[in-house]
Every structure is written in structure tokens, then in C-alpha cells.
């Protein structure tokens, strides 16, 4: 079920009313309802893949309890190993089988051998990368003795499959989300209202910004050989806003929806395109994944401790794996590696934690130096997104070659003013709200002028109704 579909517009109020009116006061029934709703939500795509989630849930529930009751370190480690193998095994099979097979086949072929194995026609289950990482965090945290396992299967299953964030995150930590399933929930008016606002802004980002940009990004990337540099630049720019609008829009809707049910999910985006360096960008982009890798991979590998070589090695490992997590294609691996290259100078000069505050905090405009830093960081990001969007590496290099040609200064062949103006409005609005958790958070106004707030909501709904692009699948579903 897509967040931007009629199905969801009907589904959400029904679950909401049942949750707060029929099952209020009964935590068990509320969790059971959330579980049932989540399975319906997921099964809407393909009910067969529900078996994967159920299996993964049962395995991790059992292993979690077993690890907790086990005294022997060796056995605890073995149990954790089983959990990791099962979870990553599923992920590896569904997502990476054909990729590895193709690459092995090519490698053998170069060495003069023919590998007789056929590719499989595998459909990637929606959201598998997200819920796999979420369940992994559960068993790892229990192994580390940072979390007491739940004995209630319904609570655990609801945690794994919680529908607002099931298919595209934020990837929640068990330590944050699971205890919320144990706590009696009381309807929180400000939280719910703020949730509604965040849903509205998420819809705007997805339907207006991402879907409109997608139309031109697809057109230009799919026909990149016929366009000149300036059009290719616009194509990369459109994709830059498409992916941000699409993914952060999804996260906003997920967080807002969870709030309607009394849950607080972690923040996933913090205005990343206003970052002043790449380190700051990665603290603001897909925060739930970046911090997951930091806590469960980077730090166990040694983090920034040790010598320069260790730092460089760990940085590359994290970024490359992060790229590979996005998809089985060398383009994603290259994108990850390129970001590592961007990040490295900051790490080696100990400047990777320079910008921890909001950009131009307390001021309307950035200083000239801040502006230059933001522009440089944004440009590097746009360049990296070309690899992310390209069909294959040679396509990306050809695209960049075409972009950095003399035709970069010519008038673009495609110049969709309405979309560019919408992007301009979007950037200005987000800039004005950059110190808030999301762009429609109105702390001061909420106490004062309701008519201003409501006019803004109606204006945004009007923009959604007027400029809503053709409905597109969320990009991150494929990951």
C-alpha cells in the first residue's frame, strides 16, 4: 500500500478509529491491531512475502530469548551468528544473488572458465533491507546486554512490522521503538497534530517535488546521449531533489503516521542540502541508516581509534557497504566509495565534526563563507547522485563527460519553469524552517494564529492538488 494512494487514505482513518475508539485502554489489543494492520499494509503488495517477515520475526524472537538466557559466551556468539546468517542470508539471496552470480561468471570467463549457473528471476520483497536491519539491531543489542528481550510475541512482531516505517524506514533501534510497545499509550493532542503536519509536508515533498522532478530526471537520464551539458546538469539537479523529496517525504509521512498512534520514531533527515561539508551531510541524510552502520559496524571495526590506516580502512568499508546496501549494482558501490573520498580529508584533518549546529543559526541568511561551503557540498552531492541514478558505471561517466562539456553554458533543451519554481519555493520554505524538526512545525504560531496556520495548510494542499505529478513508486522501496 502506497502512502500517496487512495487505499492508504481509507486504511489509515479506519485503523486510527479502531485504535483509539474501540481498543483504547487495552494495550494488548492495540498492539494486536497494529500487527494485523501492518500485515495487511504489507500484504497489499504481495501477501506471499509476509511469510518472510513472519519467519524472520519468529527466528529473532526465539534467538533473542535464547541469547538472553544463555550464560556461555560461545553459545551466545553462536546464536547471534545464526540470527545474522538467517537475516543476511535472506537479504543476500533476494537482493544480491544475481549480482554475485553475474560477477563470478564474468570473473571466471576472464580466467578462461565458463560458469554454468543460471540467473534466477527473483522479485525483491519490498522493504527487506529495512526490516532486516531492524531485527538485526534487536539480537545484537540483546547480545551486547543493552536490551532485555521481550517475551511477548505480538509486541515483537508489531515492532518488526510496524506499518508506518516497515518498507522504507526510518530503521528503528529496538532500544527506542520496542519499549514503546510495552507502554500504555494515551492520545497526545499536540503529538497527533504535529504528526498530521509532518504527513502533509511529507506528501508535498513526495507528490509535488519528487514526482515532478522524476518526470524530467527520468527523461534526461534515459536519453542522456542526446542532451547537452546544461540539460544534463538540470537532469542531475532534478534527480537530486527527486531523491530527497521522495525519501525524506516518505520518512516524514512515516514519522507523522506513527505519531498519530502515540509512537515517536527517530528523525531520518535534517535538511541535508544545507550542509556545510560532507561529514555534516552524512549526519543529516538517512540518519537512521548512517547511525546504524556507525553503531553496528564502524565502532566494532575500531571506529576512528587506531592509526591513520585504520581510519581510512573503516571509512571506506562503511561507505562502500552503505552503497551496496542500496542495491546490487557497481554504481551504488562507486557512489559509496566516492562519498568516502569526499569524507576522508575531513576525517584525516579532524574536521569531520566542525558543523554540529544548524546552518546560519539565529540568522536569516548564511555568511558568504557558509554560502560557498553549502554550494560546494551541494555540488559534490549532485555529482555523486549521478552515479546513484545511472544505469551502469559507463553511463555515469558518459553523463558526467557530457555535462562537463562546452554545452554546459548553452540554454538547456528542457527548461520546465513550473517545476523549477516549485523547487525554489521548497528550498526557501525549508531554509526558513531549518531549525525545526520538520518544515511544518509551528511552535509559536500554534499558540497564536490559527487562521495563518490553516491558510498555509490549505495552500499546501492546493499545491499538492494542482501540481501533483504522476504517481510514482517510492525510490527506496527497491532497496
Amino acid at each position: 500500500m502506497l502512502f500517496n494512494s487512495l487505499d492508504f487514505a481509507i486504511f489509515l482513518p479506519i485503523v486510527f478509529i479502531l485504535y483509539w475508539f474501540v481498543f483504547q485502554g487495552n494495550l494488548r489489543l492495540q498492539n494486536l491491531l497494529l500487527l494485523a494492520a501492518s500485515y495487511i499494509f504489507y500484504g497489499w503488495w504481495d501477501w506471499r512475502f509476509l511469510s518472510l517477515i513472519v519467519f524472520s520475526t519468529l527466528v529473532d524472537f526465539g534467538i533473542g530469548l535464547a541469547i538472553s538466557s544463555e550464560k556461555s559466551d560461545t553459545r551466545r556468539k553462536t546464536l547471534l551468528g545464526i540470527s545474522i546468517i538467517v537475516n543476511l542470508g535472506f537479504l543476500g539471496f533476494f537482493k544480491y544473488y544475481n549480482f554475485f552470480l553475474e560477477n563470478f561468471r564474468s570473473a571466471f570467463s576472464i580466467a578462461g572458465y565458463e560458469l554454468n549457473a543460471n540467473s534466477l528471476n527473483i522479485i525483491l520483497p519490498v522493504g527487506i533491507s529495512f526490516y532486516t536491519f531492524q531485527t538485526l539491531s534487536y539480537t545484537i543489542d540483546i547480545y551486547r546486554r543493552q536490551l532485555t528481550p521481550t517475551k511477548n510475541l505480538v509486541d515483537f512482531a508489531a515492532f518488526v512490522s510496524f506499518f508506518p516505517q516497515l518498507v522504507a524506514g526510518p530503521i528503528e533501534r529496538a532500544t527506542n521503538l520496542l519499549p514503546q510497545f510495552y507502554t500504555k499509550r494515551k492520545f497526545n493532542y499536540p503529538l497527533a497534530v504535529d504528526g498530521m503536519r509532518q504527513i502533509l509536508w511529507g506528501l508535498f515533498k513526495k507528490v509535488v517535488i519528487a514526482d515532478n522532478c522524476a518526470e524530467y530526471a527520468n527523461l534526461i537520464f534515459n536519453n542522456s546521449e542526446i542532451y547537452g551539458g546544461s540539460t544534463l546538469f538540470l537532469g542531475a539537479l532534478f534527480f537530486t531533489f527527486q531523491i530527497y523529496g521522495d525519501f525524506s517525504g516518505y520518512s516524514d509521512i512515516a514519522i507523522g503516521t506513527a505519531r498519530l498512534f502515540g509512537f515517536d520514531l527517530m528523525r531520518n533527515f535534517a535538511y541535508p542540502y544545507f550542509s556545510r561539508d560532507i561529514a555534516e551531510f552524512w549526519r543529516r541524510w538517512h540518519i537512521s541508516l548512517s547511525t546504524w552502520f556507525r553503531d553496528y559496524l564502524y565502532i566494532p571495526l575500531g571506529g576512528s581509534r587506531g592509526g591513520t590506516w585504520m581510519k581510512v580502512r573503516n571509512t571506506f568499508i562503511i561507505f562502500i557497504i552503505s552503497g551496496f546496501w542500496h542495491g546490487a549494482n557497481w554504481t551504488f558501490i562507486f557512489w559509496g566509495a566516492l562519498n568516502a573520498v569526499y569524507f576522508l580529508p575531513l576525517l584525516l584533518t579532524n574536521q569531520n565534526r566542525n558543523h554540529l549546529d544548524a546552518t546560519a543559526e539565529g540568522r536569516l541568511f548564511p555568511t558568504f563563507s557558509e554560502f560557498l561551503k553549502i554550494t560546494l557540498t551541494f555540488s559534490l552531492t549532485v555529482l555523486a547522485w549521478i552515479f546513484f541514478r545511472a544505469e551502469h558505471l559507463s553511463h555515469a561517466f558518459r553523463y558526467i563527460g557530457g555535462l562537463l562539456s562546452a554545452s554546459l553554458v548553452e540554454k538547456p533543451a528542457i527548461l520546465p519553469w513550473p517545476t523549477l519554481l516549485l523547487i525554489g519555493f521548497f528550498v526557501l520554505f525549508e531554509w526558513s524552517q531549518r531549525s525545526k524538526a520538520h518544515a511544518l512545525e509551528f511552535n509559536r504560531l500554534s499558540r497564536t494564529n490559527r487562521s495563518i496556520r490553516w491558510s498555509i495548510y490549505i495552500g499546501i494542499i492546493l499545491l499538492i492538488g494542482t501540481f501533483g505529478g504522476s504517481q510514482q513508486q517510492f525510490i527506496y522501496f527497491q532497496f
Binding site: 487512495l6 483509539w20 492520545f187 493532542y189 497527533a192 497534530v193 498530521m196 490553516w454 495548510y457 490549505i458 494542499i461 492546493l462 492538488g465 494542482t466 501540481f467 501533483g468 504522476s470
Partner: protein, 298 residues
């Protein structure tokens, strides 16, 4: 909780009220300001989809205005016709695109399918009255509701752009015939008993009745198509002809589908390019003169 629900309800009412008000107001203003008047010497208006849109260059025939537009269902042609003739009493003749495919079932999509509805609703909204809107609402309620807010901005846009927003001759330069022939080679002909579009039939008859009531000459026109396309539609030719004879008996049917045109005149299998349009405009001009539709002294 109660205040949340009541606030949501109040907001929904305010939202619905504001959007309705803006929609009605922009429709009213659009209708009021749209430059509906055609030149005084205009006697004939061309309506229909991309076939007449690309086939007749109205610059070459002074008393004719081509307002056909690609992807237009008869429903929208009816709205255009009603408004145009009410505002321009000098119009005496209506040429309406009437091709073999126009009655086929898949044409329903041109009216109720979301991909077309999205553009056609907003482009034609200033021609709607309440009854037209509620009629369309019955066919695809969710689609119509979803795309109605778009009309607020587009009504204003229509006023600024004028008639070019509703149609006009399209100078087609594309060269896709070879590709289309290759793609359609070996395609089995359409079944003789293929399903028909009830929507298209209803509104075609409504156009006919309107013309009858208002003493307008209705000319049904099939512009030239490539022999491969004519062959594909050949099983439904009889139905096409009989429908016109039985249901639209006073209308004049000009079927130029199989006119002998060289390949260089086609943009693809069913559209003429600008060279074909240049030639076809002469042909249709002569046809209309011989029918007495065009007065050479004007």
C-alpha cells in the same frame, strides 16, 4: 481526542469550502474572461482529436478554424461546440473527426482514464457547467475529485493562452512511420465484433442532436491513414458506416481514410505530417467547396 476529531472535521469543512469556492470562482472568472469570440468571417469549426488536429492547416482556409486537440473524447468536443456556437453565431458548419477507432472500447480511457482526465479536465474546466461536472463525476468519481483542484490555476492559464489552450492545427515534423510499420508488421486485424465505447457513442449523438437543434451542418471526417492502419481497422468499417447512417442520418460523412497518399506524407500510421497536411488541406478545401460549405467569396 474529541477536540482532535472535531478540529479535523472543522478543518475538512473549511478546506472543502475554500477549495469549492476557489474552484467555482476561478471557473466563473475564466468563463467571463476567456476570449471566446472567433473572427467574424469564421463559418466552420473543426473539432476532434489528433487526426484532424494534424491534418488540416486552418491558416490555408480563411473561413475555417481548427480547434481539434490530441486525446480529446467526444464529451469535450461537445462542451467546446456548445460554448463556441453560443458565442459565435456566425458558425454554420462543424467538422468533427470521426475515425474507425473513435467508437472502439479503448476510447473510454480518453474520458475516464486518469492519464487523460488529469489534463483534459483542467484544460476544459471553464467550459463546464454543474451538470457537466456531475455527469463526469459519475464516470470516475475519485479521478474527478482528485484533479478538480488543479483547475483553479489552469482556468487562469486558459484565459491567458486563449484558444490555443483548447486546440489548433499541429505542425507535425516527427518521422516515426518506419518504426511504426516495423512495430505493427504482422499485427492481426481488429475483430469485427470488437467492443464499442458507450461514452463515445452517447456524446457523438449528443453533438449530432445539438447540431440538428441549432441548424448546424455536421460533417464527419476521417482523415487519411496509412494502408497498414486501414487494413487493421477494415473489419469495423461496416459498423462505422452503419452507425453514422443509422444514428446520425443528417450528418455528411467524408471518409478519406484510404485516400492514396505517399508515405512521405505520414508522420506515423495514423497522423499526417506537415507535408501531408499541406496537401490534405487543399483536398478538404475542395471537398468543402463542392459541398457548398465554403463560400469562395468570403
Amino acid at each position: 481526542m474529541k477536540s482532535f476529531i472535531s478540529n479535523c472535521l472543522i478543518f475538512s469543512i473549511v478546506l472543502l469550502g475554500s477549495l469549492s469556492l476557489l474552484t467555482i470562482a476561478s471557473n466563473y472568472i475564466g468563463h467571463l474572461l476567456f476570449p471566446f469570440e472567433l473572427p467574424k468571417h469564421t463559418r466552420t469549426v473543426i473539432l476532434g482529436n489528433s487526426h484532424p488536429e494534424c491534418a488540416i492547416n486552418d491558416d490555408e482556409i480563411p473561413t475555417v478554424v481548427n480547434l481539434a486537440q490530441s486525446g480529446t473524447a467526444y464529451y469535450y468536443d461537445y462542451l467546446k461546440l456548445r460554448e463556441l456556437t453560443a458565442r459565435n453565431p456566425q458558425i454554420r458548419n462543424v467538422i468533427l473527426g470521426y475515425s474507425y477507432h473513435d467508437l472502439e472500447k479503448n476510447m473510454d480511457d480518453w474520458l475516464v482514464g486518469e492519464s487523460k482526465l488529469k489534463y483534459k479536465l483542467r484544460n476544459h474546466f471553464l467550459l463546464f457547467n454543474f451538470q457537466d461536472y456531475f455527469e463526469l463525476l459519475q464516470f470516475n468519481p475519485w479521478g474527478v475529485i482528485k484533479f478538480t483542484p488543479q483547475t483553479i490555476f489552469y482556468n487562469i492559464n486558459a484565459v491567458l493562452k486563449g484558444y490555443s489552450y483548447l486546440g489548433g492545427y499541429k505542425h507535425l515534423e516527427r518521422v516515426k512511420l518506419e518504426e511504426a510499420i516495423k512495430y505493427n508488421k504482422g499485427r492481426p486485424a481488429l475483430s469485427e465484433n470488437s467492443s464499442k465505447s458507450e461514452y463515445q457513442k452517447i456524446y457523438l449523438k449528443r453533438i449530432y442532436e445539438y447540431c440538428e437543434r441549432n441548424n448546424l451542418n455536421l460533417i464527419l471526417l476521417h482523415t487519411p491513414i496509412h494502408p497498414i492502419e486501414a487494413e487493421y481497422y477494415s473489419p469495423v468499417k461496416d459498423y462505422y458506416k452503419i452507425f453514422a447512417e443509422n444514428e446520425l442520418p443528417e450528418a455528411i460523412l467524408i471518409n478519406h481514410a484510404e485516400l492514396d497518399f505517399p508515405e512521405k506524407f505520414f508522420a506515423d500510421l495514423d497522423h499526417l505530417n506537415y507535408k501531408g497536411a499541406r496537401r490534405y488541406t487543399e483536398i478538404i478545401d475542395n471537398s468543402l467547396r463542392s459541398l457548398g460549405v465554403i463560400n469562395p467569396h468570403l
